[in-house]
Amino acid sequence: MRAVLRWALPLAALPPLALLGFGLTRDVKTLPSALIGVQAPEFRLESMYDASDSISLADHRGRVVVLNYFASWCLPCIVEHPELVRLRADYDPDDVTLLGVLYQDVPENGRAFMRRHGGEWPSVVDYDSRMAIRYGVYGAPETFLISPRGRIAYKLVGPLDAHTAPVFRAKLDSLLAIGDPGAEGHERLESAPSPPP
């Protein structure tokens, strides 16, 4: 009996320790996304610069879309902003579209943010976080990489910084290397059953 207990007690401690070890070795910055590989939800939202104008995801079919959720009240958004400016400068706008989504903020503040920190790219206003909920957004900043076919290829939770930007750029480059099916090919692919990501 004592021999059994001598083995049973340490053995009983093993599963909780294994779970603890598993939990401690996860990357806390990695949040699960249910949307990787699925078709990005379509949207048509008011432009941040002109309330009478609207921008849709479909407008940018055939290009890689970098969809960046930001807000003027968000400090990490200020941290990542220079990286977005560089990204915008480094890639051909015909290949890559940088699209801002103003999150839980008003357009005036969003415009002031862009004036203060520089850079200029199309941005939309996500009133009531309706689009954010469809995109599974936790908070700003979050950046989605959407393939020319409109699939969500990657999602970064948190700012693009010295650690995350190289990974993000590598994903972007690989997405560009896969090739752009083009507008016509895109139409065809849209109606066909979607291949696995």
Partner: protein
């Protein structure tokens, strides 16, 4: 510590609950396998009942709706137009929204559901849920919508399948294993045969103990004070 207290302590231990048992050797253990099995079945049934989704609203789920929809005569003091159909529908929708929002994890806080949180995102999710319910969507559709966007992580009560089963079964299994270990320990510590009231002092080698200690030990074994 004085010898008297040690003696008393030893005496109490000898005259403890086991010493007076008259059961023959090999009698029923304190924790029988049957009792263990029954406990395990009860615990597992309880956790599975909590885990498995029910096809329709359970009585517990339906309760908030019922309680939030008072009969017209009792609603009179609270609402300006008592018994009005629109008010009752609003109250029902509010209650159902709260119930459905209670299933989701608040994304920007800790340990709160969407129904409990006052964060902006949670309030916007509540509005989304209310709108969808108003359009006739079922709570299950809404759950599927949020799971599509955020993954099963958003559910405070994940469905009991696959790896999720661990969440429901491990506590019950740990309880049963713990109970078994306690049972073993208790049985192992118990003397296998009842101690006769007047047992002779065991034979000890003469040089094992000081004469003084030996005398104390013999008195203790006899139960003299």
């Amino acid at each position: 510590m004085s010898g008297a207290t040690r003696h008393g302590g030893a005496g109490r231990r000898r005259k403890g609950p086991w010493a007076h048992r008259r059961d023959p050797p090999g009698s029923r253990p304190l924790v029988t396998p049957a009792a263990l099995f029954a406990t395990a079945v009860l615990v597992l049934a309880g956790s599975l009942d909590a885990a498995l989704p029910s096809p329709g609203p359970t009585p517990r789920q339906a309760a908030p709706q019922d309680s939030a929809t008072p009969p017209p005569d009792t609603a009179a003091p609270a609402t300006p137009s008592p018994g009005s159909v629109a008010d009752r529908r609003d109250a029902e929708l509010d209650a159902l929204t709260a119930e459905v929002a209670g299933r989701f994890r608040c994304l920007v806080c800790r340990g709160q559901s969407v129904a409990e949180s006052s964060s902006q995102l949670a309030r916007e999710m509540q509005r989304e849920i209310r709108e969808r319910l108003g359009h006739g969507e079922t709570p299950e559709h809404i759950e599927a919508f949020f799971v599509d966007s955020y993954g099963e992580w958003i559910l405070l009560r994940p469905p009991a399948r696959g790896v999720n089963l661990l969440v429901y079964l491990l506590p019950a299994a740990a309880f049963v294993v713990g109970l078994a270990i306690v049972g073993w320990v208790v049985r192992a510590r118990r003397p296998s045969e009842p101690i006769p009231e007047s047992s002779p002092a065991p034979d000890l080698p003469d040089d094992a103990l000081d004469p003084e200690d030996r005398a104390w030990l013999e008195r203790a074994i006899r139960g003299d004070r």
